[in-house]
Amino acid sequence: MKHLSEEQLIAYQDGESSGRDAVAAHINLCAECKAELIRLAEMLAAYRALPVPDPGEDYGRRVWQQIAPRLEEKRSHWWQMLLEPRRLTAARLVAALLLVAFLAGRVSKRVTPSVGEVTTTATADAARVRERVLMLAVGEHLGRSEMVLMEIANAAPESASVKQVNLSSQRRRAEELLDENRLYRQTALQEGDTGIADVLDELERVLLDVAHSSGNVTPAQFKSIRQRIDDDGLLFKVRVLTKEIERRENTEKRGPAESGSAKVERNNQA
């Protein structure tokens, strides 16, 4: 019997579809080729099992601290970018690529009609996709923020003899959430979605308090943070907005009929 070549075995192990059935049939009949395939799989498994050190939870933050001083401020403005043909072309791909559509959306919203590249339909599509992108990102962000707020609301000193409350984990996550929160608040404002922007603004103040705390907060500091959450009814507002975003996403999945009405409703509620 002619054995399989190493190339055939590697291709089979790699999931290659061409001639797969014939190779599989041979392997099932030939003990030698089967053993060879197992040796190959073991080698790959041994490689994958090699440990890769964990760079740590704050690794991204450290990378940013190292590179930030070396990043030059970008001078480009939206009106320069919209003149780039690539972006105008990208405006037509709204349905295909979420990311491209989002970036292109800025172009189609701001481009002057005389350019003639972007149709009214494309503009409406792009606006819808931009809103969907914002909803997706904010929905995820609110979910993570709610968890931090919940944990703070339920936090207490570790024992009767300790007065301070340990918010180290919440502080680290609040730091991470702050950057995103600012981005989404600014984008929501830019999109005219003041309902979202207002809730994010209130959330940002609490996140700032937590992020700037020492991690081990005194009873007075803890009371102040909790007070801010309670006074603003922040947890409730976050949950309402999360529900509203879920409803919007479901509506969008059924059909993109609604456009500005939900935004107006949200703005009025806030």
Partner: protein
């Protein structure tokens, strides 16, 4: 809570837009979200913590500088991964050239270096990381990986560790699909040849297909 792929891409899109609009700090969100993935790739490619950290920094610096070119790309994570892979190949090649020059000042030029196994001296200096788990296997594997060219090692890691598609590997290697596929195959073949007997092919003739 795990973020969905779609929501990560949505979040990335917003960060990219604001960075391009002149908000430098918006780029921080991208760095913080994707650094660990790039670190794992860089470590797999170099086997060295310090090198991996330098590669991560350089990859994000380059991504920032080229961000205006990103609009036609679909996924920031894939894009910065490719930048890192590409930069690592160049860096490893350059290092091999420098090593070769140090060892034989009047030797042949760079193109020959990668092809010559004698020039590929493995670095077997033990580090605390290397002493963890199966020391012997790890050392053998590290040595075997050192015998690969930068392109082979990158193709192998991308395919068999990160599960990248051939097209993606071809883009990182700046070659075509067929060449990328061959590079992956060559990498696996060389590793098996170099590694301990239980992983090695049963006969060199196997590559051609043989009668039993």
């Amino acid at each position: 809570m795990n973020e969905s792929v779609e929501s990560v891409r949505a979040a990335d899109a917003i960060a990219i837009e604001r960075t391009l609009a002149g908000d430098r700090d918006a780029f921080r969100v991208l760095v913080e979200r994707h650094s660990a993935t790039i670190f794992r790739l860089a470590y797999r490619l170099t086997g060295n913590h310090h090198d991996a950290e330098e590669i991560v920094q350089e990859a994000f610096l380059r991504a920032y500088q080229k961000l205006e070119q990103f609009a036609s790309q679909a996924n920031f994570a894939t894009w910065v991964y490719r930048i890192a892979a590409n930069y690592t190949i160049d860096r490893m090649r350059q290092r091999k050239q420098e090593d070769a020059r140090r060892q034989a000042p009047s030797a042949e030029t760079s193109d020959d270096v990668e092809q010559d196994p004698l020039r590929q001296i493995p670095d077997i200096a033990p580090t605390p990381e290397r002493l963890t788990q199966s020391v012997e296997l790890r050392t053998q594997m590290e040595n075997a990986l050192q015998s690969l060219t930068p392109a082979e090692r990158t193709a192998f890691v991308m395919r068999h560790c990160d599960g990248c598609g051939i097209e993606e590997i071809a883009a990182a290697l700046k070659s075509n699909s067929s060449a990328a596929k061959n590079t992956v195959f060559r990498a696996v073949h060389k590793l098996r040849q170099t590694l301990q007997p239980q992983f090695a092919p049963r006969a060199t003739a196997r590559a051609m297909g043989t009668e039993s």
